[in-house]
């Protein structure tokens, strides 16, 4: 229980929503307790970005984080996970950069099936509504991402797998 106190002081927690808006679109929303100017900074400065993009509970370590935040500029993120055989890379380029209000980038690590991500920052009374919109090139691409579970958080699951493997080693494995 005491370990949980680390996260204090706790700001007001706003709800996060996620929805498949159409065959090709996913939308996530969340209000952040701060002005758009500051929230935008946290999305565009690597030293800030890597503080929040991979929460501890994901079990990932950031190996590198590079962001050339301007139209046509590239970004690259490399993570490692104890259960992953090799580092995971995510990369793409920025299509639109409008300070404090809008970012658009490509996701190219998956080849042609990658989505285009648009994030808008709408300031209201000192808070910022974030709308993150992923547009996939086709229905099949989004269905594929869902079917492969590629976007899932994997940490606890890998622990469970270890247990399951240990427990099943002598039963299912032999049948």
């Amino acid at each position: 229980m005491d370990a949980r106190r680390e996260s204090e002081p706790t700001p007001i927690k706003n709800p996060t929503t996620a929805e498949r808006k159409s065959e090709r679109e996913l939308v996530v929303t969340r209000t952040i307790n701060g002005p758009a100017r500051i929230v935008f900074e946290a999305w565009t400065k690597p030293e800030l970005f890597k503080q929040w993009w991979v929460p501890k509970s994901f079990g990932l370590s950031v190996l590198s984080c590079e962001m050339d935040v301007r139209v046509g500029g590239r970004y690259g993120l490399v993570f490692s996970h104890p259960a992953a055989p090799k580092p995971m890379e995510f990369f793409g380029r920025y299509l639109e950069v409008t300070p404090h209000s809008r970012l658009v980038w490509t996701n190219e690590e998956g080849g042609d099936s990658g989505q285009v991500t648009t994030v808008t920052f709408e300031e209201r009374g000192g808070k910022t509504l974030l709308i993150m919109h992923d547009l996939y090139p086709s229905k099949e691409a989004l269905d594929g991402a869902i079917a492969s579970g590629s976007t899932g958080g994997m940490d606890e699951t890998f622990e469970q797998l270890d247990q399951l493997l240990a427990a099943l080693g002598t039963s299912v494995g032999r049948s």
Binding site: A18, R30, G34, I38, A42, L48, W52, S57, L130, L165
Partner: protein, 132 residues
């Protein structure tokens, strides 16, 4: 590794929320593991499965029920035949995936909140210094 084990592992990775205990209990029975193997080769009706495993319909229905509860098997009744196949229904899969996706972003945004709080605090301190 047998294909069926791959399937089960994959299932556990993708749908941890359907319950590790339920899946584990479902797998503790040799007939149920056999049913999963069988369904890994082809969908089958409860009658087919009962025949193959030399079992009463009622007995097989119970086994399939346990697998279904654990989210390992889906059944669908068409006319008088109940067909069994591996996996969750597609819509359930999608709902489960979107919920995991939402949770992942929720965790990220909680961290973002902290970063923004810290930046706000720094700005206040810097602002005070400038005025002094």
């Amino acid at each position: 590794m047998p294909l069926i084990l791959c399937y089960i592992l994959n299932h556990m990775v993708q749908y941890p929320r359907t319950g590790f205990d339920a899946a584990f209990a479902a797998l503790s029975d040799v007939t149920r593991r056999g049913v999963l193997e069988q369904l890994g080769r082809a969908d089958a009706s409860i009658t087919d499965l009962a025949e193959k495993f030399d079992m009463t319909l009622t007995g097989m229905k119970k086994h399939v029920g346990v697998l279904e509860q654990a989210g390992l098997v889906t059944t669908e009744k068409v006319g008088r035949v109940r067909t069994c196949k591996l996996g969750l229904r597609r819509l359930e899969e999608e709902a489960a995936w979107i919920e995991r996706y939402r949770q992942r972003w929720d965790a990220r945004f909680d961290e973002l909140d902290k970063v923004v709080e810290e930046l706000k605090r720094k700005e206040k301190v810097d602002g005070r210094k400038k005025r002094e």
